[in-house]
Symmetry: C2
Subunit: 206 residues, 2 copies
DNA sequence: ATATAAACCGGACCGTAGTCCGTTTAGAAC
DNA sequence: GTTCTAAACGGACTACGGTCCGGTTTATAT
């Protein structure tokens, strides 16, 4: 099977790539492994960039050259899960993938997103922190947005589906859902049920 | 006229208050004036707490004792506008205040919120930064949320209006709307139109 | 006027994200 | 193997939010 990296969070080979130097590659692996270990041990919110540099036996500058920022590191850690999620709603089986009616795909999209947040929510939140740009215009976010917009159009909602998709995206925002789940103790099923109610009502009579 | 501070952002007299010392009062005034000047001169995002302390001729510790945090400072700067907004949708004339049917009140609420963000968006965003707690559970946020929930109930939406209100609140989130307005250049009227479309569809046949 | 306690003050200090730049090293060319 | 250069490295440095604590000021009681 041939895996396409649909919209990579962090394009690793910017198209004219003079292939990575061996020490760089080695350090990247060390950093990623160290990062995963630290996340497993202390949780996303507790790890600092110095910690990571130390654990990977690497200078701080190296960490930042590799990932650009803390958010960039988190995006990199998320990229596999993210690519998988993208594959599912673009190429996967219905109702999440193509083939089902738009309403059902919308419902499935929300449900999948909720599961994603249950599993990777802390990472996703950290990947968007301290930067409205990352939060709203990161490539994966734009892709979800376009997907929602397309489904709305398919369902016959022609009045500014772009902005409406933004509203729906806001409902599925990781930080928001995580807050409901963790702080207010809302059950994931209840979130899903509310999402279903929301999109069902929206698409009625179109 | 007697102004009630409905849900103060920052309760200034915690009910058993041994009344503020005169030097404290003087410093508070100096700080607020300096803060407003700095915001006017450099914009919300550019001002730092050191800058403020320096401009107000006050120690840094004093700034933080007064406001608790950068977000706290911003809340204080917002509190007048916020109290006014609250008064309008609770006591003001219809359709924003009581007296109009729920759908019209919802529409008016969104429109008022958009105007608010146009005017105070940067402050509002800064007041919520770096703290999901502030962003989602600050007293004013809880109040808007309850208001939305009440209107949804009045309109006959009985399936988990609490969560549905959360979704609507997400649509009106200052950071999100500000991003649409400033970065994507969406016209306020278009935001308002989209909001109207959203709530109208949601409340149809209830 | 004086004593006393509580509230307040200031600025040194800390942790963390992010930058800078002199030094090292991989790898290509010869 | 030697030389050369661009890329990568590392860690000192900066900026900023936030904390701490010894000294000072205010208000009150006597």
């Amino acid at each position: 099977m041939f895996f396409v990296s649909l919209i990579p969070i962090r394009p690793e080979l910017p198209l004219g790539a003079p292939s990575e130097r061996s020490d760089a590659a080695r350090n990247r692996e060390r950093l990623l492994q160290a990062a995963r270990e630290l996340v497993a041990e202390h949780g996303v919110d507790a790890i600092t960039m110095d910690m990571l540099a130390c654990r990977a036996d690497v200078g701080k500058g190296t960490v930042f050259r590799r990932f650009g920022s803390r958010a960039g590191l988190m995006m990199t850690l998320l990229s596999d899960a993210e690519a998988d999620f993208q594959r599912q709603f673009i190429f996967g089986p219905p109702p999440l993938g193509p083939g089902a009616p738009p309403l059902e795909r919308l419902i499935a999209f929300g449900e999948a997103r909720i599961k994603y947040v249950e599993e990777y929510g802390e990472l996703a939140r950290a990947a968007a922190e301290h930067s409205p740009q990352n939060r709203h215009d990161a490539p994966p976010v734009v892709l979800w947005h376009r997907h929602l917009e397309m489904l709305l159009r398919e369902a016959g909602l022609d009045r500014d589906p772009w902005l409406l998709a933004l509203s729906l995206g806001a409902t599925l925002d990781p930080e928001r859902m995580l807050h409901s789940l963790r702080i207010h103790g809302v059950a994931p099923e209840r979130l899903a049920e509310s999402w279903r109610e929301l999109v069902t009502r929206l698409l009625k009579d179109c």
